[in-house]
Structure formats: C-alpha cells, structure tokens
Homo-oligomer: 305 residues x 2
C-alpha cells in the first residue's frame, strides 16, 4: 500500500530562494490528501506533474497566510476544471468564513460540494476515518490556534500461512475470521482453526506526523510517539534560538529533540526562514540530536516506511 | 519621465503553460502601481527582480480569483518586511471584507496603514490624483462588477526657449508663469513676456488604458480614446467567439476592433485562455483589425510613448 509524501513548499512566511510556502501532498492507499496550501500550491502541483484533481481532503494547520493563501486558487481551479466530486476541508474556525466571503463576492456557485470541518486546537481528535487509515489532529503551540496532523494506517489483516492452507482447505468464513485475528470455532465454541496456526502477524502499522508551526513543546511527543516519519518545522538555527522562542517557532535542534524523544523512524525538516540560503547548518544541528534527519526539498517524494 | 508597464501574468482563469494570472506593475514618474494581483504575483515580482516594496497603489479590476488571489500574500509580505508606508488599494465592493476577514482570523495587525477605496463599476471616475498623473476607472462588461483603469499624465509645463532666455534674462516669477502657459504682464496688465515667444508647447500627454475582463463593448472606446497604449483582454480566438459572448470575454479580433475605433497607439493582448499554447493565431486575428498589436509577455516591460 502506497504511503508517500511529496513536499510542495519548504519556506516559511515569504516565498524566497525559489522555495515556496508550506504544502505537502500525501498519497495513502491511492487517496490524496493535501496538508497546508501556501500561495502557489496549485502551480507547484502542476510543476511536479501531480494530478491535483485527485485530492479529496485538504487539511489546514492554521490561519497564517503562508499555510493557506493558495487554497482559494485551488478551489477555484477545481471549479473551473468541472470537478463534481466532494471536497472536504479540515481547518481552524474562521477558514469557512474566509472561503465563503470570497465565493460570495465572486458570485461563484461551486460545481462540486464542499464540506468544511472545523478542527479543535485544544486536544487530540480523530477527524477522518477511511477504510485504510485515520487522520488525527493534535494541538501545537503557536501564536494562533494551530494543529498538527497524524496520519495512521488502520489495523491490517493478518497474513495467511500459505503452506498450512495447502494442507487444510478452509471455508472462506474461517479465512476472514482468521485474517481479522479471531480463531474460528465450531458450534460448541471449540477452536477449529487457530489464528496462531494459520496466520502470521501483519507488518507494523505506519504513521506520518506533520508538525506545522510550533514552539518547542514536549507535549507533542505524546501525540506522535513512534511515527515512522515526522515532519517538524525548523524555522531557525541555534543562532536564532531567542527569536524562535519569541515567535513560537522551533530551531532545527528542537525538532531533533522532539524526534528523539518520540522515537520516530526519521525526521524531515522544513519551514525554513528566508535568512537561510544554505540549509546545511540546520541539518547538522538537528542531526546532532537525531541522526536520521533530512531536509525536506520541494518536488521530492518521501516514502513512509 | 518614466511611464512603463511590466507584465507579470498573462493567462486567464488558471495558471498554465508557465503563464501566470493577471498582474501588471506600472512605473509612472517613479511611482509604482500594481494592477490586478493573481496568485503568485509576489513570486513573479521577485523573479523579475522588481522592487515590490515600492508599490504605493494597488488596483483590482474585479473579484474573480485570477485577478486578486495574490493580494493577501502581497499584503502579508509587506507586513513581514516591516513596511510602514501607507498602501492604498482600489477595488470593488467586497474586497475590503475579504481582506479584513483574513487579517482578523490570522490575528494580524498590519505594521502599515492600509486605505481601501471602493471603485464604482457604473461610470467613469477619477480615483487618484497625483502630482504628475491621474487614474480613472471606467465600466467594463463582465459577469460581475468590473472596471478598467486609465492612467493619464497630467498637464505638463511648457518647455523654455533657451536661446531667447540667453538674450533676455527673465525673473523666476516670469519663467514659472510662462511654463504654466500664462503670459507675464506688467502692473498695468500689458504683456511683458509672452508664452509664444519664450516657450514651446510640451510634448503630448501620454495615457495607458487597462481593459481587464470584458465582453466586446464599443462604449469602452469613449473611455480610452487616443490612449498611447491599450491593454485589452483577448481570452479567445475567432474559433471560440460564441464562448467569448457567453462568458463576457473578448476575442483577439474584438480587442483589435476596440483599439482601431479608439485610435490608440498600440495594443497589447493578454488574459489568454489555457486552450492556447501557441498564441500566434490570436496575434494574427487582432492584427487583421489593428496592425500595431503585440502579445503581452511575462517579465517584459513596455514603454508608453
């Protein structure tokens, strides 16, 4: 099952040095999710030849412009491209008003249904339940209401022991039960076929955690524990630690500390301050805390595994 | 005196073929005006190394997204770049609400004063009076309220006849009067120095007319008569004339007809439909009506003369 993240923007605040503002396209089980949508996101999607008409869900972390100023353009392009499929947008209180006001003044009646779900910045919440994955929000510590997103695979079916199945022909009903992890019993309740005998455990469930703008906050560790891949903002280097504290942003080193505490598989940095043309100091500082760290780069697809 | 237009976007509706959405930067007497502001305008300004901090006035023709979705990003970047100078935005009713709602939800108090002036889509109006130029709006015929903009040089001072001034030494007071076109008289009202003798007429006043989205409308001719340079949308070719009529857009041929009737100096086409990768048929069709026609191209600066 595909579980991939394509980075569309990596700069903070202002587009600069050829780096765009925050946005990521997630493909999980061939369902496309967009996380944040800075100005020019639709231009980036085209540039990297990503089929943006396939996006079903958009998640906006917070209402600073560098995380959502591309949203109206994307909605408008969906409309002009004759989309008819439902689009669901998850975002903070106020985003629905921002969208509605702009549709009203342009006298636009969208061709497609748009569902808006207000996120809760106060506690972890399940906001999307799909067949093969779930999405949760969790609180981040920023200057305005801001949530992270955790995308988790759901319980997988156990794998069948094919050799055993050649020996014993099982009814379909029994197979379904065993794959779900339940022994198959006869009418008196005695085990006929056991899970242990006929199946192997599924591979571990994967998860991706997205921590958009946030100050250094150890509480985050509880929400993202053990994620295979963590994206954590790293606006500043150690040279600007004070500024990071003032503005509720993180240093690369902070991101590394969170990754280490949360025992994630690997860490992806992003949301770079425009003051850094060369990003290698940020990478080094994060790696000093957590060696499995990488710089997110626009147009690059990262696999969650 | 500089009077130059730099095209930042030339495509309609959707950014495509590497073409951005409508926006133009005007430099008149070293005052910078931005007309329309499609998504990614600030990225274009940076790409073409234009000093966008110098912009004092922004004019938005109408509230279809391809003409203003870049505005909030630009305002936000002015703010982040610590602008303190007044910014004046001229635009249709509703644009102030769109801006205010977004500033409210991002909890942003701008560092600089922002003045909003609502344009009137019903009749020609003078909306800006600067020392060296004026800006007028005029009605266009689109699906929603939409105005064009006419930027006109103001009355120029007459040029002094330097040879004559070597012969006769005039007091400063006399020179000022003559340059303004008034004879300089003695106390009894007799002409001491005449305008005819000491000055030449100034060069003709220049003007630039911007006709954003509009159906073919001969009324426009009255508003833009004799402009040195006319930008007129040319969304479609003759092959899509019916679609142009339905959507209140123009064909390239329509734009040529307006240019001819209005006896402008030259015509610049733009707002190309995404269906046209090759724009040469549009250019040919407009030239069949009005030979002095050019395709607007992004990053190119056109001089008004």
């Amino acid at each position: 099952m595909d579980f991939k993240i394509t980075v569309l923007g990596s700069n903070s605040a202002i587009p600069a040095h050829g780096r765009n503002q925050t946005s990521q396209l997630v493909n999980i089980a061939n369902i496309y999710l967009l996380i944040d949508c800075g100005e020019g996101t639709q231009i980036q999607l085209r540039k990297f030849k990503l089929k943006f008409s396939k996006i079903d869900y958009i998640f906006i972390s917070h209402l600073h412009g560098d995380h959502f100023f591309g949203l109206m353009g994307l909605i408008s392009s969906f409309h002009l491209n004759k989309r008819t499929r439902l689009l669901t947008i998850f975002g903070p209180n106020g985003l629905d008003e921002i969208i509605t006001v702009q549709l009203k003044h342009s006298n636009t009646r969208l061709n497609f249904p748009l569902r808006f779900v207000t996120t809760n910045p106060e506690k972890k919440e399940l906001i999307l339940e799909e067949k093969k994955f779930q999405v949760f929000t969790f609180p981040l510590k920023h200057r305005i209401a801001c949530t992270g997103f955790l995308i988790k695979e759901k319980t997988l079916l156990r794998n069948l022991n094919k050799e055993k199945l050649l020996e014993t022909k099982l009814p379909l009903e029994a197979i379904n039960s065993l794959r779900k992890g339940k022994d198959f019993n006869d009418e008196s309740g005695n085990v006929l076929y056991s899970v242990e005998e006929f199946t192997y455990p599924p591979r571990p469930l994967r998860s991706y955690a997205f921590c958009s703008d946030t100050g250094f906050d150890l509480e985050i560790v509880n929400y993202i524990k053990g994620a295979n891949l963590l994206y954590h903002e790293a606006t500043f280097g150690n040279d600007e630690e004070e500024r990071a504290r003032e503005t509720f942003h993180s240093t690369a080193s902070d991101a590394g500390k969170i990754a280490k505490k949360a025992e994630v598989g690997s860490l992806l940095l992003g949301h770079y301050s425009t003051r850094y043309l060369d990003l290698s100091p940020l990478l080094e500082e994060a790696r000093a805390e957590f060696p499995e760290t990488y710089l997110s780069e626009e147009g690059i697809t990262y696999t969650v595994d």
